[in-house]
Amino acid sequence: MAKPIELDVNDKRYSVKYPPDTPLLNVLRDELGLTGSKYGCGEGQCGACTVLIGGAPRRSCQIPVSAAAGKPITTIEGLEKDGRLHPVQQAFLDAGAFQCAYCTSGMIMSTVGLLQTNPNPSHADIVQYLQGNICRCGTHPRILDAVRQAAKMMQERAR
């Protein structure tokens, strides 16, 4: 059996026994019960499985669990603090930026990643950044609105 791998997910420590090349997504969903990150393609093409590793958005279906060991991982479940939504979650909710919402976790995680490195993105920046996230329901314009609104909220909070 594989050696235990130490994971740091949403500020909690876990020790999991999985073969080291198992995709992080499977461990998050099947072992830790964090099912907010979705399987959409398993090929890094749709973004539904996006999580933050060391603050940067990563496709968890493409990351071997061993490569995430010891690094801080944030999933959609880790954004809400003390019952208060993260500004990006709040902005998506306010904008009604989902229909079936299966892509929403990945969209939100990618947006959190974007706003951490670029707090005031242009339209082109957002489009470029979210190009790897698929929404099949065609809710893109509202997602763009939500990202802009979230940027505004985060800048106001930072002030």
Partner: protein, 719 residues
Amino acid sequence: MSNFEEKCVPEPERYEFSAAPMHQFELARRDFFKLLGAGIAVFAIAKDALALQETAPGPRNFRSEELPKEIGAWVHVGEDGSVTAFAGKAEIGQNIRTSLTQTVADELRVPFESVRMLMADTAFTPFDAGTFGSRTTPTMTPQFRRVTAAARDLLLGVAAKEWNVAPAGLIAADAKVTDPVSGRSLRYAELARGKTLAQTLPAEDPITPAAQWTIAGKPIPKVNGRAFVTGRHQYTPDLRPEGLLYGKVLRPASFGATLTSVDEAEAKAMSGVVVVRDGDFVGVAAPSEREAQQALDALHAHWKEVPQISNKELFSYLKQNAADKSEERFRKQKGSVEQGLAGAAHRLDAAYTVAFIAHAPLEPRAAVAQWTDGKLTVWTGTQRPFAVRDELAGVFHLPLSSVRVIVPDTGSAYGGKHTSDAALEAARLARAAGRPVKLVWTREEEFTWAYFRPAGVIEVKSGIAADGTLTAWEFHNYNSGMSGIETPYAVANQRTQFHPVPLILRSGSYRGLAATANHFARETHMDALSRAARMDPLEFRLKNASDPRLRAVLEAAAKSFGWPRKKTQEAQGFGLACGYEKGSYVATCAEVAVDRASGAVRVVRVVEAFECGAIVNPDGLRNQVVGAVIQGLGGALFEAIEFENGRIKNPHFANYRVPRFRDVPEIEAILLDRKDIPSAGAGETPIMAIAPAVGNAIFDATGVRLNGLPLVPNGLRST
């Protein structure tokens, strides 16, 4: 498909239909108060529902609009004042959980938040043929209104009896009944306490007209929105019952391949792995997805394959293999096309093609199956929970009452989730394993083994008088289907015909069905005719459109778009298209920019006007309309399934291109609210006009007439 599946799955429908199982009304009614506790309940069922169901159209019936007329809505007011409404429909992202909740709250006169909608659970919701055909709003809205109005009357009656007054003078509002004479009032919760009052629907109860709606008609946000932005909502693939195993199914090497041999020894030797072989069905279940995949990889199978055509020969194949004699019901004729053509000042003959495309819902087909004491429960993302239940019962020789199908709010479908495949596969594996099994199709399985929107060839022959009046219209659709086949324009001489072709790839419903193909052909042809007549495309359509609702959407879209527009740059183009289907109207204007050097086509701006009668939720409707435009852009510009010899050549998002952020133009949706017209559905019609509008805009920009969908999978190389 394998023998197993052939045995259990009837051929997937190419066009929507509704098969008709027996109603489970009495059973559910007995369970009703047990489930919900005491209170007041109203059931609605048409007396002749069973008879109607027994004569309902079966598979391969093309009259898709003729669904059973049965009423399927129940509502319950509990002792705590909570309201539960029951519908057999599934929430798949179209936002009906919210719009139906609004309707119930509105008619019962209670706050929106106090209503819970229990949907798509065969143990507790009324029978429903399926969530398709834009039928939820036009059928469920009036049914819920009638049921809820009857519940309100029951509550008024209880209060009247309590106070010994006539019910006619009492007022129901804000979840209570008030007597305006005495000023007394009783809350619904108080009125329902200790009661187990149930009644079936009275013949007619007046319902609230749209002009007086207070909760319906408002842009109320999606129910449970917070569960979606926090990741808490559980879709089928997120369920993890105790003792869960993960399933995988061995897929044939190619379509139609038959299993000649399979060596299961290596897989069976793996720890914790269950291997099931049942005819051509071979599947595995294992404690983790990884182990299931390893077991699947360890199965050594040999297949006998059959040679098949490729997408390169597709359109000639469709023409050559059409049924010689098309059945009467596929034909429509009026006047004499020959005479109309003979007298025409301009004639035009053209052929149009549409490719196979995939729904590619982001949540793949998935099911979790669990057997307990010989009873089967399956959670699955499907548009037809009752049909899935019936198929499971048939395959496993169970009474219907031993099978329960539950549909968690699902990660979209677009017409693609009518079949039972994942449910049957998971149930078969779970039975063998003696433990619950989850089966989630991979993206490659989705692209390969799900069904497609059928490809087609459409031929149009037409004539116009010198003043632009249509004089003749002949329209032949090969394979793609009949939806939206009839022209909405006034033409004295018409012939319309659908020509079925034997299946090439697994084909089925897709958002809008063939209306997208038929509108593409018709509206592209209309554009070409307007050029022949030297008329403005808008003016030409208005000249031939007598339906005031069609004219209204055309005029609304044109006005906001600024039609007719002058070009401000080279290779800029403007196009429009319009149509009618399933009780609603659409008109779309598009602006494109073509890069002459690279041939790249960019859709810059889209204005779409849509009218579906009285709007129940303008916020949800706007999401559907804008979403349909964006999804429609994929099929319009670049989506196409490539296949050869029974294999899909592009079964991945990396080589099957779907619309992404960079493809999204500026979109304006104009919603015309007709409170005087009953609400129609809105999930499909808004997708119909975008492809021809874009194609016509490309012609306007370049002079190149593109008659095939997708229009520019590789850009406009020829210019």
